[in-house]
């Protein structure tokens, strides 16, 4: 069961399996979990999740997470 760190930004809030109100927390996930599985597990609003960084690099939802990784979720945002 790999342990990962999850960070949620700009209004994304986990609706399940996260400490109340926390935007950054550790999580143990089943072996072979894809990012998609984590989105479902946390009950994140699927159509709002736009960009996902794993250890500082953009990844797609099929990526299988590994022990100790940091996964950051963002909705569609921009600025300048």
């Amino acid at each position: 069961m790999p342990k990962i760190t999850v960070a949620l930004y700009a209004g994304l809030k986990a609706r399940a399996h996260a400490p109340e109100g926390a935007s950054e927390f550790d999580l143990e996930v089943p072996d072979g979990s894809k990012i998609n599985d984590i989105i479902k597990f946390l009950d994140l609003p699927e159509d709002e999740v736009a960009n996902i960084f794993v250890d500082r690099s953009l990844k797609d939802r099929e990526y299988i997470v590994k022990e100790g990784q940091r996964i950051a979720f963002f909705p569609l945002i921009a600025g300048g």
């Binding site: 930004y9 960084f53 953009l58 909705p75 569609l76 945002i77 921009a78 300048g80």
Partner: protein, 577 residues
């Protein structure tokens, strides 16, 4: 249309018909064309041969959404090349409604100590002696001018740092609440303006709509653009920009390992969350009397990305942008939001570009003048700039000057202009923009961050070089056109993903100018503006060697990705082929 030509050598003011060649132009297209045609490329930027051109966009003064941008063009005292910087403000809207497409300021008064104010009303345009405002901070100046000329007037003005002729200064425009917080910030346009002996330009408030030749077409175009802005997740009401301001980017750039930190020595900042848009939104929600998200820099912006940040004492600071939070924050190792907001307000008052100031302080920190993270020391430096003391003059002249004075090799600048808030070794497309834009390192010139990091307008891997020259070129050309329309560059986020929005923008421009442009014509127009600007720089003495990154970026890998700038010079040069 008419324009106003002000000759500061003989203090004459003329209202002239706009020559046919320039009739359909606005914003950056107009400023860059006039500068290229009328300013000798090799002239001294602070001398009598340089000119300052101020031009509202094609759509400014109309009801087209988010179209109140105003461009300031000149030969840059910072880069020595052509410059256009723009801001969103009611100033340009009034000017256009009065029937003026530009103000051209030329010459120089014989007495360098004199100050003047240009007063533009419906009845007359006149130059007035303004010695009483000499070296006055801009908050006080704007209050005084509003008391004298009316609370709704539009004001363009320069602060004491610009009067000291420092190359890190901008031109301030007043916002709706009459704060001098809307900056055409970059490239020393403030110093060029001040070198003319001008302290301020005041324009009378004008309601209604600027001239439109085809109202039906205008309405069609306006509605298409509006629909795109109201639909896209980034620009819609309660969307990302409206809710968190531009500083919503702090966390994502940090997570991407591309938030330049401590003078571009790292791509992550441990204090990022403390200086983010989320943190400001929380503070604004706690103190709605002093704070506000979703502020609009000019009437008619439907996006509203601006932030009024309330500090712990309940003092309001306008407008605290991503670039400022990064420049004075992460780049200087400062994670104290209140201190950054205070410096933001001080920069607004003194007349400094916050990006160039932050870059300059970070280089000074690296040079040992003060430690990274020293907010108090940075505030003290700002006071030195205000006074015009030698150290203040060095800081106010930008990061390249500071690097030379303090013997620092790691100077993040192109064409002497300090880099903004994206690490080019990690995000290659924005690197191409920084390096090749005629403006000197400038993110707004071709914001490839949209597809490289944000997933807006397509998706490109930020870490690879492939296709990045074309990506940057396409963004640069399109941006030249958008900067000419008067529409905020943030409208691009919507129209990149919703093509009918761009069609609407072009149709609205056709309705105002009588042109028949298609969206591909708009691209070609943009490309030609870019070429005009590049040609000016070549005539000013620039070569391909000025389209190069700072050497340290090729030699020093930046953590956490440990990447260097590794694109061949010949690939960079291909942008002009």
């Amino acid at each position: 249309m008419k324009w106003i030509r002000v000759n500061m050598s003989d203090l004459s003011v003329k209202v002239e018909d706009v020559p046919k060649k320039y009739e359909q132009m606005g914003g950056r297209w107009l400023t860059s064309s006039i500068i290229a045609d009328e300013v000798p490329a090799t002239c001294h930027p602070l001398g009598p041969l340089n000119k300052v051109v101020i031009a509202p966009g094609i759509l400014s003064g109309t009801t087209a959404p988010s179209s109140g941008r105003i461009s300031v063009g000149t030969k840059s005292p910072l880069t020595g090349g052509i410059k256009e910087a723009n801001a969103g403000a009611k100033f340009g809207q009034y000017l256009k409604r009065m029937g003026y497409s530009a103000i051209i300021v030329e010459g120089q008064p014989k007495n360098k100590e004199s100050r003047y104010l240009l007063n533009i009303s419906k009845e007359k345009v006149e130059l007035i002696g303004a010695d009483e405002y000499k070296f006055m901070g801009l908050y006080e100046l704007n209050e005084k001018l509003a008391a004298k000329y009316g609370k709704d007037v539009g004001i363009a003005c320069v602060g004491p740092a610009a009067e000291h002729l420092l190359a890190g200064t901008g031109v301030a425009f007043n916002d709706v609440e009459n704060r001098p917080a809307r900056y055409a910030g970059r490239g020393g346009v403030g110093a060029a303006f001040a070198s003319k002996g001008l302290k301020a330009i005041v324009v009378e408030a004008v309601t209604g709509q600027a001239t439109i030749l085809n109202n039906e077409l205008f309405e069609t175009g306006r509605k298409k653009l509006l629909a795109a802005l109201q639909e896209h997740a980034v620009t819609k009401p309660k969307g990302a920009l409206n809710t968190y301001g531009t500083a919503v980017l702090v966390n994502i750039l940090n997570e991407a390992g591309a938030l330049p930190t401590r003078n571009f020595s790292s791509g992550t900042f441990e204090g990022a969350k403390k200086i983010s848009g989320e943190a400001m939104a929380e503070a604004a929600a706690k103190n709605p009397q002093a704070g506000m998200m979703g502020h609009r820099c000019h009437p008619g912006c439907v996006i509203g990305c601006s932030v009024v940040y309330p500090d712990a004492q309940g003092k309001s600071h306008t407008s605290v942008e991503y670039e400022t939070l990064w420049a004075i924050g992460a780049n200087c190792g400062i994670d104290d939001l209140d201190a950054i907001a205070q410096m933001n307000t001080m920069c607004n008052d003194i007349g400094l570009d916050t990006i160039e100031f932050g870059d300059a302080v970070a280089v000074a920190m690296e040079g040992g003048l003060l430690p990274f993270g020293d907010a108090k020391g940075a505030i003290a430096l700002l006071e030195e700039v205000r006074k015009g003391n030698p150290l203040g003059k060095i800081i106010g002249s930008g990061c390249s000057t500071v690097g030379k004075v303090f013997g620092v090799r790691r100077v993040p600048a192109v064409k002497n202009q300090g880099m903004p808030a994206y690490e080019p070794r990690v995000i290659k497309g924005i690197g191409v923009t920084y390096i090749t834009t005629p403006m000197g390192a400038d993110h707004t010139a071709g914001y490839s961050i949209a597809p490289e990091i944000l997933g807006v307008g397509g998706k490109f891997d930020p870490h690879t070089n492939e296709g990045k020259v074309k990506l940057s070129k396409d963004f640069q050309a399109t941006t030249c056109f958008i900067d000419s329309t008067g529409c905020c560059v943030f409208t691009a986020f919507a129209i990149l993903d919703i093509p009918s929005g761009f069609e609407g923008m072009v149709e609205a421009c056709n309705a105002v100018t009588g042109a028949n442009w298609t969206t591909s014509d708009a691209y070609e127009i943009g490309l030609n503006i870019l070429k005009t600007e590049h040609q000016f720089n070549l005539a000013a003495g620039f070569t391909a060697n000025d389209d190069r990154p700072p050497e340290f970026m090729k030699l020093e890998p930046v953590p956490p990705h440990n990447m260097v700038w590794d694109m061949a010079d010949s690939e960079l040069d291909s942008i002009w082929k």
